[in-house]
Symmetry: C2
Subunit: 381 residues, 2 copies
C-alpha cells in the first residue's frame, strides 16, 4: 500500500512514537496532576515534558501557555468561542476548513459577530491588501490557516501577523496543515493563538492537539470541570493551562506527540521540508502533462505544504480515488475536503478534488509508482 | 508497587487493550470517515465496532447515539451546555464532581439557570423524596452521578430515573465512577443522557470518553468543525453522531475502549463487581478498627462502587498518602477529589480524605499488604 493521505492523518508514525506510547501505557500511565504517588508524578512529568517540547518547537516561551486538546478542532473552537463577544468583527479567508468556518458562520447567524471572508485567487492565494482593507473599528480577530488542506497553498501568515499586530487585532493561526512541515515560530508569526493537531505533520497519534494562547488574550473556557487545581472552588480556575484543560488528559497521546516532534527535531525540520517538496515536485512534474488533468496545487516549496490536488476533467474525483486504491493500492482522498469555500475558490465545488498528500516516510519509488498509476488511469478514462 | 488509584485512572489495562491499540496504530490508523481508501475504511469500521460494543454493553439500542468525546468531562459539558436554556431549572446532588458542578454553577452565576442541589447524608446518601420535592414547573433536567468519586457511594439512579420520566424531566447520569463496575442499562435507568470515561472502570486508555444521547433530547453542539459529512455546508450537520463529533476522532483510543469493554464482558461484569467488592470488604474490615481511623465509605456492595475513603483523625490526608507511597509503595489519592460539596457533605472539606480505589487487577495479597501498611502507619502517627 502507498499511503498518500498524510494531510488527513500521517501514517506511519516514527517507531519511537509507538514504543513510548506503549511504555507510557504499560509502565506509568496514572492520572497526571491528580495525585502525589510515583506513577501520577511520572505521568504529570511526561505531560509537562511535552509542553516543553511543543513550546521549544514553536518558540512559545512559556510552556504553561500550551493547552492540550483532543484535536485542532477543539483548539479552534476554544479560541473562537472563548474570545469573541457580541459586536466583534472577524476577518478570515475563503481557504479555511470547516473547523474555522462552521464556528464563525454559526456566531454570524446568531448575530453575535460580523464576518468578512477574504477570497483567494484560483490557487487560493490571498492578497493581504484585501485583509487590510477589510479591517473595521470593531475587528477583534483575524483567523487564517497556515496552509490549505484542499490544495496545500501556504498562506501569507507572516504578513498578516504584522498587520494584526499593527492594528491591535488578535491573530489566530490554524496550523493544522503545515505544522511539522516547515519551521514555525509563534513570535515571528506574531500569532496570539496557534492551533494544531498532533496526528498530522507532527507525527503524533490521533486524539491529541493543542492551542497556544499568548498572555495578551482574554479567554473564557468552553468546558469546565476537574482540573486537579483549586478543587474547593465551584468555578473554573483562571490559571493556565488548567483553565482550558478540564478532565483527565490523554497522557499516552501527549507522550506520542512529544516523541513525534522529537523525531522531527532529530531529522531536522528543514530536511523534512525539502524532502517532502522533492516528492511533491516529482509527482507534480510526473503528472502535469497527463491528458485531461487539471492541477489545483502549486509546484513551489514556498507555496505548498505537501499536497497535490487534481482532477481529470469531467471525471468524478471519487472514481479516480477508488481506482487508485482498488487497482494500485494507493490511498488518496477525494471529494470535498471539509472546506466548501476553498473548493468554490479553486473552482471544484461540484467535483471535489483528488488529493495526494505526502509524508516524510513516503519514498521516491512510491511517487514513481503513483505517477505510473495515474498515467494508466488517464489512459483508461 | 500496589496501585489503588483506579478511581482516577485504572491501571494496568488488559494486555489485549495495549496490543490492539498498537495494532491499530501500526497497521491501519488512517482517518475514520474521511476517505474511501482501505485504511480509512478499516479505521471507520473499528470506530463503528466500538460504537456497537458500547451500545450493547449499556443497552443503548442505536449505536449512532453514542458520541465519542475526549473524556467524561467533555461529555458532561456537551450534555449540560448543549441542552440547558435560559430559565431552566436543574436539580443535582451535593455528591457531584466538579465536571458537573462547575458547568452548572457557571450557568447559574450567568443567570441562565436556576439550580437546586440536594444534599446527601453523612455518607452521601440522597433521599429521593428531596429530589421529588425540588421539582418545579421549569425543571428541565436532573443530573446525578452513578457513584461518588470521593467515597464510592452508589446513588439511587433507578429511582431518580423513574421520577424524571414520570415528570417529563430529562435525566443525565454521570457514570464516571461505576461504569465497568456494575451492570448498567440505560433503558432501565431511564437515562436520557449518560456520560462516561474510557480510562476508569471500562479499562480503556486515557483520551476517550462518550456520551449517550437519547432520541428524545434536543441538543446543540458546543464545538463545530469537520465531520466528514455534509462538507458543503457552513453549519454543523444535525445527524448523529456527527453533530457532536467534530474533528478527527481518537481511533486507537476508541479501539482501546472497545477491547476494555470486551475484556469486562468476557470476565463477566457481575464477577468483576463481586471480586472488587470482596477486595473492598477485606480492606474495610482490615482497617475499620485501627486507632484513630474514620471511614467515609460504606461496606455494602449495593452502596459502594469500589472506593474506601478515610482519614486518621487529626492527620493530614496528604501525609498519609505520602507515607503509603514512600514507605510502602502503595498508590492512593489524598486531598479534595475535585468534588468540594461531596467533601462538605461527608465532613472532610478541610482535611480531604485518603482514597483507596480498587480495580479488577488488584489481588487479595495487595489488599493484605495495604492493611498491614496502614496498621504500621496508624502506630507511627
Amino acid at each position: 500500500m502507498i499511503y498518500l493521505d498524510n494531510a488527513a492523518t500521517s501514517y506511519p508514525k516514527p517507531e519511537r512514537v509507538y514504543d513510548e506510547m506503549l511504555l507510557c501505557m504499560k509502565e506509568f500511565c496514572a492520572n497526571p496532576g491528580r495525585a502525589g504517588h510515583e506513577l501520577a508524578i511520572k505521568s504529570g512529568r511526561a505531560v509537562h515534558e511535552t509542553r516543553e517540547i511543543v513550546s521549544r518547537f514553536f518558540n512559545i516561551g512559556n510552556p504553561m501557555r500550551v493547552v492540550f486538546t483532543k484535536n485542532a478542532t477543539e483548539a479552534l473552537n476554544i479560541a473562537i468561542n472563548g474570545v469573541l463577544k457580541t459586536g466583534d468583527h472577524v476577518i478570515t479567508t475563503s481557504m479555511e476548513h470547516n473547523s474555522v468556518l462552521r464556528p464563525l458562520k454559526t456566531l454570524e447567524k446568531e448575530n453575535i459577530i460580523e464576518l468578512t471572508i477574504v477570497r483567494g485567487n484560483y490557487f487560493g492565494e490571498i492578497d493581504i491588501m484585501d485583509i487590510e482593507r477589510s479591517i473595521k473599528k470593531n475587528t477583534k480577530m483575524i483567523i487564517c490557516s497556515l496552509s490549505s488542506n484542499v490544495n496545500g497553498i501556504i498562506m501569507p501568515i507572516i504578513d498578516i501577523g504584522k498587520i494584526a499586530e499593527d492594528k491591535g487585532i488578535l491573530f489566530l493561526v490554524d496550523a493544522s496543515q503545515g505544522a511539522g512541515s516547515m519551521k514555525l515560530d509563534v513570535q515571528e508569526i506574531k500569532a496570539d493563538m496557534f492551533a494544531f493537531p498532533g496526528h498530522k505533520g507532527l507525527l503524533g497519534p490521533q486524539g491529541i492537539g493543542a492551542l497556544y494562547v499568548s498572555e495578551k488574550v482574554k479567554i473564557t473556557p468552553i468546558m469546565r470541570g476537574g482540573t486537579g487545581s483549586r478543587s474547593e472552588s465551584f468555578y473554573q480556575p483562571e490559571i493556565f493551562p488548567d483553565m482550558l484543560e478540564s478532565g483527565t488528559l490523554n497522557t499516552p497521546g501527549i507522550v506520542g506527540l512529544g516523541f513525534g516532534i522529537k523525531f522531527i527535531e532529530s531529522f531536522g525540520i528543514d530536511n523534512i521540508r525539502i524532502y517532502k517538496h522533492m516528492l511533491v515536485k516529482r509527482l507534480y512534474e510526473g503528472i502535469e502533462n497527463l491528458s485531461g488533468i487539471k492541477l489545483y496545487s502549486l509546484n513551489d516549496i514556498n507555496k505548498n505544504s505537501g499536497i497535490i490536488s487534481f482532477n481529470f476533467i469531467g471525471i468524478d474525483s471519487t472514481k479516480v480515488s477508488f481506482m487508485l486504491d482498488s487497482m494500485c493500492g494507493i490511498a488518496s482522498r477525494s471529494g470535498l475536503h471539509c472546506a466548501p469555500l476553498a473548493h468554490e475558490t479553486i473552482g471544484t465545488k461540484a467535483s471535489g478534488t483528488v488529493r495526494l498528500s505526502v509524508g516524510c516516510f513516503n519514498t521516491i519509488k512510491e511517487i514513481d509508482v503513483t505517477i505510473e498509476a495515474l498515467k494508466r488511469i488517464s489512459q483508461m478514462l
